[in-house]
């Protein structure tokens, strides 16, 4: 377990809780969860790759 894993679990738990409180029904929950959890992760992965490729130049 690295620090990154703890951060990931924290993000997962907090986005789950916030989406649960925010949503009225199941489909809304899914969309809120995706917005709160997968968007930062996607940004992380995307920007990481961009920076990595820039570093390779």
């Amino acid at each position: 377990m690295s620090h990154f894993h703890y951060v990931l679990i924290f993000l997962l738990a907090s986005s789950f809780m916030a989406a649960l409180l925010h949503a009225e029904d199941r489909s809304e929950f899914v969309s809120h969860f995706v917005r709160r959890f997968l968007t930062p992760l996607g940004a992380f992965a995307g920007v990481s790759w961009v920076m990595f490729l820039l570093g390779q130049l």
């Binding site: 990931l8 993000l11 986005s15 809780m17 409180l21 992380f44 920007v47 990481s48």
Partner: protein, 157 residues
């Protein structure tokens, strides 16, 4: 009315409201109070900074005191040492630089501090919104209780 109460605020506006002294009062229309708070906070900060410089002793302390080696005051000595260590990090910019991971080159792995810290900030934002949404549930419950109480009153009267 409750719809207006539970509407989520613009987070950037909320950040400004927290960060700028008096901004909350300005946004809620109390302009005079806002200007007063803004000026007062700036005055206090300026007095703290300039006043501290003005009353700093021009005479250096004795060497044992300066080196935190004073045997007669071990607790004060330890506190001064800790204070010096804290001050040697010279402010928030060093903290920010370390936090954002500028001291380490990007290596394309999960050990990179910059993005990990951004992810943890996203988690903190989620946590804050969870607290806000708890409050939203509380406001909805309060509104429903008021509606029920009104209905009962109308039924009786």
């Amino acid at each position: 009315m409750s719809q207006q109460l539970v509407q989520e605020p613009n987070p950037w506006l909320a950040l400004v409201g927290i960060a700028v002294p008096g901004a909350g009062h300005w946004l809620s229309g109390e302009k005079q109070k806002a200007i007063g708070i803004f000026l007062l906070i700036h005055l206090v900060v300026l007095v703290a900074i300039l006043g501290g410089a003005a009353v700093a002793p021009p005479i250096p302390p004795e060497p044992a005191y300066a080196a935190s080696l004073s045997q007669s005051d071990p607790i004060g000595s330890t506190m001064r040492t800790m204070e010096r260590v804290a001050q040697s990090s010279s402010g928030i910019s060093v903290w920010a630089t370390k936090f954002m991971g500028y001291y380490r080159p990007f290596d394309g792995t999960f050990t990179n501090t910059f993005y990990t810290n951004l992810l943890s900030l996203a988690g903190l934002l989620n946590l804050l919104s969870a607290f806000y949404l708890f409050d939203k549930q509380r406001l909805i419950a309060k509104h429903m209780a008021a509606v029920v109480a009104n209905a009962r009153k109308e039924k009786k009267g």
